[in-house]
């Protein structure tokens, strides 16, 4: 039974994501996670500041349930279906990350330098998480979707705008890691 605790290979995970999109289509919904950030703004009353948030958020209740499920799934995946989950990345990547100061590379699921509670006493760690979040939230709404809405749903529907967005995602990600990471870390 030890296979249960093993990480999933890409050829299991990819089809599962397609299955999630299929199930949502079959219930007449579109797979797109970043819409929930907009819904959360609407629930907090942001509709008085911008028409982007002026809609009946109760119609988006289904997507908030998907989010709740994603949280529960994270608990099941980590606490029931895994034992001390460690991500085995390429040894070359581990070496590069250690050079950048990520000692936890190759020994953890997430870098403890950013995602351990104790790391939050550092202003730099807090700023990195906060700026990362700001860029994700701002960028995804500006682009009209994120990895799920554009890279999976949009590209599956052969939408040119989604292709432009995904190219943008990669220009941004590659610039961040290759040009900005050496300056930040």
């Amino acid at each position: 039974m030890s296979w249960i605790f093993e990480p999933w290979p890409w050829y299991i995970a990819g089809p599962m994501i397609a299955l999630v999109m299929f199930l949502l289509l079959m219930t007449n919904k579109n797979f797109g996670m970043s819409s929930n950030l907009r819904t959360m703004c609407a629930i907090c009353g942001a509709g008085s500041k911008s028409d982007l948030f002026r809609f009946d958020w109760k119609l988006q209740k289904w997507n908030l349930l998907v989010v709740l499920g994603a949280i529960i799934g994270g608990y099941i995946g980590s606490h029931i279906l895994s034992k001390d989950a460690v991500v085995q990345i390429n040894p070359k990547t581990v070496f590069e990350l250690k050079n950048l100061g990520f000692e936890s590379a190759g020994n953890a699921y997430l870098p403890s330098e950013l995602f351990e509670i104790n790391a939050l006493i550092e202003f730099k760690t807090l700023s990195i998480l906060a700026i990362g979040g700001l860029l994700i939230g701002f960028g995804t709404r500006y682009a009209g979707g994120c990895t799920s809405g554009h890279a999976i749903s949009g590209l599956s529907d052969l939408q040119l705008p989604s292709l432009i967005a995904v190219i943008g995602f990669f220009i941004g990600g590659l610039t961040m890691i290759h040009l900005l990471f050496p300056l930040i870390f």
Binding site: G14, A18, N28, L37, G133, L135, G137, G144, S156, A165
Partner: protein, 137 residues
């Protein structure tokens, strides 16, 4: 009844994100370094099946589980919003190592500092709402 369906779909998605390591900051970094096929395999295989699924639904006029026609809403044509928005999103994706699905999965997995990322991503979405009239679309 329908609520349970969405909750279950979310659970399936969350387990997949955690177990495939797509929710790992390390996997995102490795992907942008082109040092593993893993993430490309996940997105690529999801996409190939996704294209087949969507095209089949369209050509065979498959209806939803509730018997309604399945609608696909074409995205508005534009370049700047997708490119500029996409680049900003890419910066955040690489920095925080999570996108708007997996960030919630990580809450369930017990990595509480991700709540800062989530809180600020809601704030980022709000800022976009304030500034959108001033941005090229």
């Amino acid at each position: 009844m329908r609520s349970i369906i969405y909750l279950l779909i979310g659970i399936l998605f969350g387990i997949t994100m955690f177990k495939s390591e797509a929710a790992s900051w390390f996997r995102i970094y490795e992907m942008f370094q082109f040092q593993s096929f893993h993430m490309y395999g996940i997105i690529g295989s999801a996409l190939i099946i996704g294209v087949i699924v969507v095209q089949s639904i369209k050509r065979l006029n498959i209806t939803s589980f509730f018997g309604e026609p399945i609608r696909f809403i074409p995205k508005t044509r534009s370049f700047s919003r997708y490119m500029f928005g996409g680049i900003l999103f890419g910066f955040g994706w690489a920095l925080a190592g999570a996108c708007p699905g997996p960030m919630f999965t990580l809450v369930g997995a017990g990595f509480l500092p991700i709540l800062i990322v989530i809180g600020f991503s809601v704030l980022g979405t709000f800022l976009y709402g304030l500034l959108k009239e001033k941005l090229p679309h």
